[in-house]
Each structure stands twice: as C-alpha cells, then as structure tokens.
C-alpha cells in the first residue's frame, strides 16, 4: 500500500458530506449542514496541505526529479484485457498543487457562504452541491486515467450546472445553466472523440502508459499514430486537437466562452469557486497533464497558443465595456486563462525552455487566490448593496473597509504590480512568450495593460466615484465569516508570489532556477501602471470623460459591449438552424412520412377490406349460391380442365 493512500480521503470526504447533505439535509440537519460541509472541507484541506508538504519536501523527489506517484489504482471498468478505466490517484507536482488550491479555495467559499447564503431556504442543498463540486474537482485533478478525468470532467460540469441554476425560479438562471452545460457538453463531445482516438492508437487509457507510448519515438504506437492521417493531419494532431476542444470548452476559450459570463447567474461564492478559481482552469490542467504529448505536436501547440492569446485579448477588450461587476470579472477570468493557455502553447518540454509550463501553472496558482478574492469581494459588495451594476455603485470604501482593502490587493495582483503574487507569475509567462514568439509577447503585454485598466475601472467605480451615505446604520459589512475569508485570501494573494513554484512544478519534474530579470520586467509593469493611471484619470471621480471616450470609439465600443455579437451568432445557429432546420423537420418527417407510411398501410388495408366487404351481404341464400357456384366451378375445373 502506498504511503499516500490517505490522499483518497481528500476527495472522499466531500463526497460523504454530499451524500449526507443530499439525502438528509433537507429535513433533518437544515441548520447545521453548513458546518458539516465546512468541517469535511477543513479536514480535506488539511490533508491536501499535508500531502503537499510531504510530496514537495519529503519523499516526492527522487534523484532531483519529482516523481509521478500512483497512490491508488482500482479497475473500475474493464473494456478489454488491456484497456480499462481505472479509478486511481496520480500524484505529481501539478496534481498536488491543484488539490491544495481546490480544497483551500473551496474551504474559503464554504466559510464565506455561511454568511452569504444565510437564511436561504435550500441551504443544505447548496452545501450538498458545493461538496459534490469539490469532490468532482478533486477527483478530476487526481485522475490517473484519461477516462477517469472525463468522468470527473462531466461531474464537474453537472455540479456547475446545478449551482448556476441554483435559483431555479429565475428563468434567466435556468437558461444560463442550460447554456453552460450544453456548450461545455459540446466541447466534451470533442474531448470524447479525442480520447477514443488516443486510446485506440496507444492501446491504453492510463496517463502514464499513454504518455510514455506516444512520446517514445520508435514505439509501434508512436509510428501508428503519426502515420495514420485524416484530411492531411496525423491522428495525433486530431486526437490532441479534439482533446483541446474539450479543454477549451471548460476553460471558456474563444469561441466556446459564451457560457461563462452567463454563468454568473449563480450565487456569487459559487462563481468564485467554480467559474474563477477551479473548474475553469480544468482545461489548462488537462493540457498540462498531457503536456509531454502536446509538446511533440507543434501544430496543436500553435492552436493552443493562438486560441489562448486571442481569448486573452478578446476578453480583455470586452471586459473594458461591461457594467455588471460579475461580468467584468468573468471576462477577466477568461482573459487570465488565455494567458495560462498560450503560456503552455509557447512552452517546450524540459529544461529552461519549459518556462512557459511553469509560468502557466504558477499563474494558475496565483490566479486562484486573487480571482476568488475578487469574486468573494464582489459577493460582499452585492450582499451589501443588492446590485450588480457598477453604474449604481460607488463610494463603498468607507462603508466596507475590509472588502475595499482586500479588493485593492487583488486588483494590484491581477494587474501585475510587484510585489503582489500576480506579478511573479505573469513575469514568467511574459518571459516565455518573449523567448518564443514576439507577436504573442506583444499581445500579452497589451492585454496585461488592458487588464490593469479594466480592473481599476471596476475598483474605482465600486469604491470611489462618488460618496454615498447610508441612513440605515444596521447595514454591516457582511458577517464575520465573510470578512474572515476575505482577509485570509488577501494575505494569500499578497504573498503567494513568493512560493517557489518554479522549483517544484516544471514540465519534466526537474527544478528550474527561479530568477527575476529586473530589466525585463520594467516594461510590462510600466504598461500596467499606465493602465491604472488611465483608469484613475477616467473613473476615480464622477466625470464626463468616460462618455467622451465611449462615443469616440463608437461602433467598436458597442460591439465590445455586446460581446462582439457572439451570443447572437450562437442563438442564430441553435434557434434557426438546429431547432428549425433539423429538429422540426425531423419531428415532422417522423410524424408525417414514417408514421404516415405506417398509418397508410393500415388505412390501405381498411380500404381494401371496405371494398370487398360488399360480398358479405348477409343474405344466406346468396352465400349458398356462391358456395354452390364455387363447387360447380371447381368440379368443372377438376373434371374438364385438369382431367382428374
């Protein structure tokens, strides 16, 4: 038995709490259900921290390289003698990092929700769903098998669906949850086909074996998958490309990003957990998990790079125009994930050139803290002011000092201002981009300037802009649990950058020398400061400058505000083409042609019988006459014609 057997408890504890809360929460433990969820998550988080400590400091490293440890493996479904879905636990630097992030952020959100969701009728169900999500996400990152990851991938999707649609009486929440699920499902379809391709050629579903077989030049599987082509691309490219579609769907990469802004219909802590810190980085995690294979196929890496870079820029532009506090954050999430994605794309396998990989994972790590902090801060604001619209907000800095300060730290972190965490991780990414592709680097710097701009636009609009005086003195800045969470996360955000991630998490497991190149970082930081300065100029006080700028941009502004009409395009495709063009004709065809044919058979039979039933006149003597005539005819036939 592996010494890491206990890691099994990390995902299982939330599962247990899900089962208990889901089955009995409604009736029996309504009020204490939150506490139960928090306790199980707390233990889970402690265990993951212990795992991380043990893995990184005690026995994870052999000969200077971090090992892949299979802590548990259990055959779940045996497809054929060699191919099976195993339920297993794979520990390597990224999965260890991920369980720490997931369990920690989830714990924070659990605690925050104690205050935020207080008084909610379906409180227990809310915690049950949160636990389900945490279980699935932990299972996802620990997966040792590509099909296992798909299983948890789907579970994550469904828990996201359940949580987005938590306020199910609100039709827009229902639409949003359906949209999120269907869009990601569409991406998963690609993922599934990708799995089928990879599994077929490698003859296994196990990550370790799969990566080993497909990256060893000269192995029969390697030759097979490279030599088989379809439409000019090798099967490896197809397989990885399709897997990437799955990742892009979950990570809200362009053009599959449309569900993410709408997903903000869910409770805000949920957005913090799922749609900012953990689930949406699953796509990045997936690419990172298969990175050795990705790194041998440059075509797919190019796709990853460009999709990531474009999404980063696109989302940043859109974020500048949005007025819903959560939507701004949603687009900023998309933009930051774009960073992680293209950073993986520009990376290579092993050594110094693997900096992109490290940077991506580092950014994932820091992003989890500052983005969840931003969302929880936004949650606190919404809880306090009961509105999401930044045009109605302003001047909250005095009324909500804790929230204000933590929000500011998070904004500085995301803008990449030293010494906050975002600076370090972004620096690695920019460095990797610079050494790989100058165009990507330019896009990245531009995007980070835009990021600084829109984040501070948000910050000033919410906390400065104008002074408001509340007459209601009872209005408090959230509950203790909410403030506590914000403080903890703010501390993490401020110092997470000093975690030596680069010596832990690298593409090949060997530690990387961490170095900050002061000269290199001057330019990006200056760009970010310019962005902040511009935001200060435009939004710190209430003035007419923003309107002037917007009207100057005119149609570009409108297009960005309408998110470049991507939603409308999707709506057109689904409503007009799929529903009206395929669904309706299929239903019509079935009703009228196929069923019509069957009914036609029946009516024809009925008609024919109607025609011949006249013979059945009911007159006995007629029958006797026919009978007699028949006998005569037969007699004539037999005697004279057939000559018997």
């Amino acid at each position: 038995m592996s010494p890491y057997f206990f890691v099994m408890l990390v995902p299982l504890l939330p599962l247990v709490s899900f089962c208990i809360l889901g089955l009995f929460g409604r009736k029996y433990i309504k009020t204490t259900s939150g506490t139960l969820g928090v306790i199980s998550l707390f233990i889970s988080a402690l265990l993951s921290l212990y795992t991380a400590y043990r893995y990184f400091f005690i026995d994870g490293k052999v000969n200077g390289i971090y090992q892949h440890i299979i802590a548990l493996k259990y055959t779940w479904l045996q497809f054929s003698p060699r191919v099976s879905i195993d339920m297993g636990i794979l520990l390597d630097p990224i999965s260890v990092m991920m369980i720490v992030i997931v369990s920690f952020i989830s714990l924070m959100v659990h605690i925050f929700s104690l205050g935020y969701m207080k008084g909610e009728e379906r409180f227990a169900i809310y915690y049950a769903f949160l636990s389900l999500f945490t279980f699935s996400m932990l299972g996802l990152v620990l997966s040792s098998n590509i099909f296992q990851i798909y299983i948890f991938w789907e579970l994550v999707g469904i828990s996201s669906f359940l949580l987005i649609g938590f306020y199910f009486e609100n039709p827009s929440a229902v639409t949003a949850s359906n949209k999120a699920f269907i869009v990601t499902r569409f991406a998963d379809f690609g993922f599934l086909i990708g799995i089928l391709i990879l599994a077929f050629y490698s003859g296994t579903l196990d990550f370790g074996t799969l990566i080993e077989r497909l990256t060893t030049a000269g192995s029969s599987q390697y030759i097979d998958i490279h030599s088989a082509t379809f439409l000019g691309a090798s099967m490896l490219t197809w397989g990885l490309g399709l897997v990437f579609i799955g990742g892009a769907g979950k990570s809200a990469m362009f053009p599959l990003h449309i569900w993410l802004p709408d997903a903000m219909e869910g409770p805000t802590p949920v957005s913090a957990l799922i749609h900012a810190a953990t689930m949406v980085v699953a796509g990045v995690f997936l690419v990172a998990r298969l990175f050795p294979v990705f790194s041998i196929d440059l075509t797919v890496l190019q796709i990853v790079t460009w999709v990531g870079a474009f999404s980063a820029l696109f989302a940043a532009v859109v974020a500048c125009t949005q007025t819903d506090i959560k939507r701004v954050l949603a687009f900023s999430t998309m933009s930051q994930i774009g960073f992680m994605m293209f950073s993986l794309g520009v990376s290579k396998y092993g050594g110094e050139s693997g900096l992109g990989y490290t940077g991506s994972m580092f950014h994932l790590f820091t992003h989890a803290f500052f983005k969840s902090l931003l969302f929880l801060g936004a949650g606190a604001v919404i809880h306090f002011a009961h509105t999401n619209d930044i045009r109605d907000l302003g001047g909250l800095r005095k009324l909500m000092p804790v929230t204000h300060l933590s929000f500011l730290i998070a904004c500085l972190a995301i803008a990449g201002i030293p010494p906050f965490s975002g600076f370090f991780s972004k620096e690695d990414i920019l460095m990797a981009a610079y050494h790989s592709d100058k165009i990507i680097y330019a896009i990245a710097v531009l995007t980070s300037a835009l990021t600084a701009f829109y984040m501070f636009r948000l910050y000033y609009s919410v906390f400065w802009k104008r002074d408001i005086h509340l007459h209601d003195k009872n209005h408090e800045e959230g509950t203790l649990s909410m403030r506590l969470t914000l403080v903890i996360l703010a501390v993490c955000t401020a110092f997470a950058g000093f975690v030596p991630v680069s010596s832990w998490i690298t593409s090949d497991g060997a530690p990387l020398e961490s170095h900050i190149d002061i000269v290199f970082s001057v330019f990006p930081v200056l760009m970010a400061l310019t962005g902040i300065g511009l935001a200060t100029y435009l939004y710190k006080t209430e003035n007419r400058r923003p309107q002037i700028i917007t009207s100057a941009f005119g149609s570009l502004y409108r297009a960005a505000y309408r998110k470049f009409y991507i939603d409308e395009l999707y709506l057109f495709i689904t409503r007009k083409i799929i529903f009206n063009g395929i669904g309706r004709p299929a239903a019509w065809f079935d009703k009228n042609i196929v069923d019509g044919f069957m009914n036609g058979l029946a009516t024809t039979t009925a008609k024919i019988s109607g025609l011949i039933k006249g013979l059945q006149s009911g007159k006995v003597q007629n029958y006797a006459l026919y009978f007699f005539g028949g006998i005569i005819a037969l007699a004539v036939l037999f005697i004279y014609v057939l000559n018997y």
């Binding site: 054929s80 789907e154 579970l155 199910f168 229902v174 379809f189 089928l196 077929f200 239903a587 069957m598």
Partner: protein, 500 residues
Amino acid sequence: MLLSLFIILPLLTALAVLFCKGLKQVRMISLMGTSVQFVFSFGLLYEYWKERASGNRAQFLFEMNASWFDPLHIHYHIGIDGISLSMILLTAFVVIAGVLVSWTQETLNKEFFFLLLILSAGAYGYFISLDLFTLFFFLELAVIPKFLLIGIWGSGKKEYSAMKLALMLMAGSALVFVGLMGLYFNTSINGAHSFDLVEISQMQISNSAQNTFFPLAFIGFGIFAALFPFHTWVPDGHSSAPTAASMFLAGISMKLGGYGCLRVATYLMPEAAHHYSPVIILLSTVAIIYGAFATMMQKDLKYINAYSSVSHCGFVLLGIGMLTQTSITGAVLQMVSHGLMTALFFAAIGMIYSRTHTRLTEQLGGLLKVIPFISTVFVIAGLCSLGLPGLSGFVAEMTIFMGSWQNPDQWYRLATILACASIVVTAVYILRATGKSLMGPIHNFQYNHLADAGWNERLAAGILITGIVAIGVAPFWLYYLITPGTEYIIQHVGKAITLK
C-alpha cells in the same frame, strides 16, 4: 427448477389476484408476489456467482430440458448466462416498481394487476428460454397483455395507440416467427430439425439460409427494439399507456427485442450478422441521431421520453451491429441501463401527470419547488439519460463508444462519431424539458398545493434509482456478469467470419 420458479411465481400470483376482492387485497398480493420475485432474482444472482466461483465454465447454468411437443422437437429448454441474468434482474426491478406506482389503480384493478403479472411471466420466460419455440411462445405472452393494458387503462387516443402497437408488434413477431422457422428447417440432427438454441449454435447453417432469414429475424426483433423506421409505435404506445404499462413497455418490452437481436439473430446467424452489419449500423445511427433531433421538438413529456427511447435503443442496435466484444457488452449494459432509466422516467412522468393532469411542458413549470421529490427523481432520470457519470447511462454509452471505435473501418468510425454527437443533442432536450417543466416560476397557481410523493412512489423510485446508481458507481459487477456471455457470442461471430 430454480429457473422455472420465475415463470411459475408470477403466474401463481396472477391467479391469486383473480381470487382477491378489492384493491387492497389485489395490490397486497401483487406486491408480495413481485417482492418474492425480486428477492428470488437476487438469490439467482447469488447462486450464479457461487456456481461461477466454483469454476463452472459452462455457457449456460441451471439448464433444464424437458420435451414439450416431441414430433416437432419442441422442448422446454431453459438456462441462463450472464446476459439473461442481467435481463432478469432488470425485469424484477421494473416489475416491482411498476406494481408500486399503480398502487392507487382504482378502475378494474384486478384485471390490471393480472395482466401486469402475466406480462412479467412472459418476460421472465422469454429471457430464460433456450428453445426458440419456447422463446417465441413467451414473446407472444408478453405482447398480448399490452394491447389490453393500453386499450383499457390508457389515456388520450388509446384505442388507436393500442391497435397500432399491437399490430406493429404482431408484425414483428410474425417476421420473427418466419425467421425462426427458416432456422428450424435449415437445421438437421440425424435428419430431424431442432429448435434448440445451443444445438443450433453448434451447427453450420448455410450462408444463403442465413442471409435470407437473418433480416427477417433481426427486423422482427428490431421492431420491438424500435429499429428505424419501424419505431413509430413507440411514441404513440408509450404516451397512451398507463404509467406502469409505459414502464413495462419501455423498460422490458423493448429489451425483448434487443435481447432477441443479440441472442437469436446475431448469435445463431453470425455470418449474416457480419454481412448485414453495415445496414444495421446505418439504421441504428439514423435512429440515434434522428430520434434525438425529433425529441427536441416534442412538447409532451411522455413523447420526449418515448423519442429519446428510440434514440437510446439505437445504441443497443449499434452496439450489436458493431460486432466487437466491448460494443456488444455495451449493448447489453445499455439495455439494462435504459430499462431502469426509462422506467424511472415514466414513473416520474406518471407521478407528475397524476397530480397536474397535464404532460405538456409549457403548462407545467416550477414544479421543483412544490414537489421536490418527484422533480428530483425526474432530474435524476434525465441526468442518467444524458449520460452523467455515476449513473448507469454513462457506463453503457461509453462502453458502446469504446467498443465501436475498435472497429477500424472509416465508415464505422463516422457512425460512432455521429452516435457520440447525440450526447450533445440529448443534453439539449433533457435540459429543455427539465428547465421548462420543473424550473422557472410556477405558472399555474393550483400547483401550489400539490402533494409530494407517497411512500409507494418513493419506494418505487428508490428501487430504480438504486439500480441505476449501483451500475453507475460500480459497473464492474455487471460487467463481469455479462462478459462471459458476450465472449461466447463474439467467439462464435469471430469464428464464422474467419471461416469465410
């Protein structure tokens, strides 16, 4: 003898029901009878495992062979392998749930339960038969009661639906019968013909005979399993049937077809199965995609589930048509999974309908708030239908995809991809249906006072959900149950193909 109990017991229960007075006695007796069956089916599972664990590698266990009508060599030959055992378990689950949801069946209750029990006897008999004639006999036994169940206790245009269903299924059995006769007259043991499944499987039936009679048998059974384009009885039949009958129809009857396609058509005529495999793939792929798209436009919950059954049963036929071991195992898994899932679905729809008296999605809305239990059941069934991991649908579909992909032909791959695409469409229609009928605000204020599920409904749903989750969370036990059976089939098919 153990196996014969599965026929005797429902018949005895049915007989006992006839001597009862009043709904209370009738339903008590039925529940007792079906519970005993339920327990027995687990006993059988246990015995089966014990036998297998003791190293019995025979293809069929617990065989019994008695002459029934000697001049034509018709035998009462029964026995089970893993495939039939999983079908028996499915039947036991659906039957007990069916009895529980009909708990308050007031009109003509005695006859209703009598017919349900006869139907279950037919289904059990069908799954354990190893003699083609006996098999056909039980097939018919399972068809006739449905006509009455729909015609008498149905709703909507019930006479039309009952007639349509009965005629189409009868046409199916007629084709099956011709196919069986064709097989029979092409066998010879010392100059005599044989109906015996095991004996026939060891014979070499000429290719021309196989190619003639395979389509007949396959289409005949296929009609039961909603083979495109013979699926139109499914929507009408299901929607008019009373709840328990819908559950039986979709949960058991459609499986009779799939089982027949596998056990009789494919197993006994492997060369023809290979020969016609492209056609089967084509039809089943069409059924999957087209059924899914047709579902999207339905407004009646029962129609939604009926069309989705067409799509899901397409997977069964796809798995059989792909002729790899994994895909056939997947087909069997899908039969079990779909049986449980669709029964649960119809049970939930029945519960909703009995309260709101409508099944149209736009008239419902917000039910999750007033009847949370029933709505949750509905959602679970929906999630199973769209293939959520942890529920049985996922396991079955993935096994089919995995198995289908092993067939290296380009066109088969395309079919697999199209079939995979249906999981997206499934998600669309399931989510639309749940979103419209269960979520959102309550439109009709009379719904504010609906009562949630009673104990019988909770128990019925609980039993089915247990089955679904047991397969979804731990599929290996069912997998190991089925695999030896499919191994025999695939060896047989493989031998036939290599002989060519």
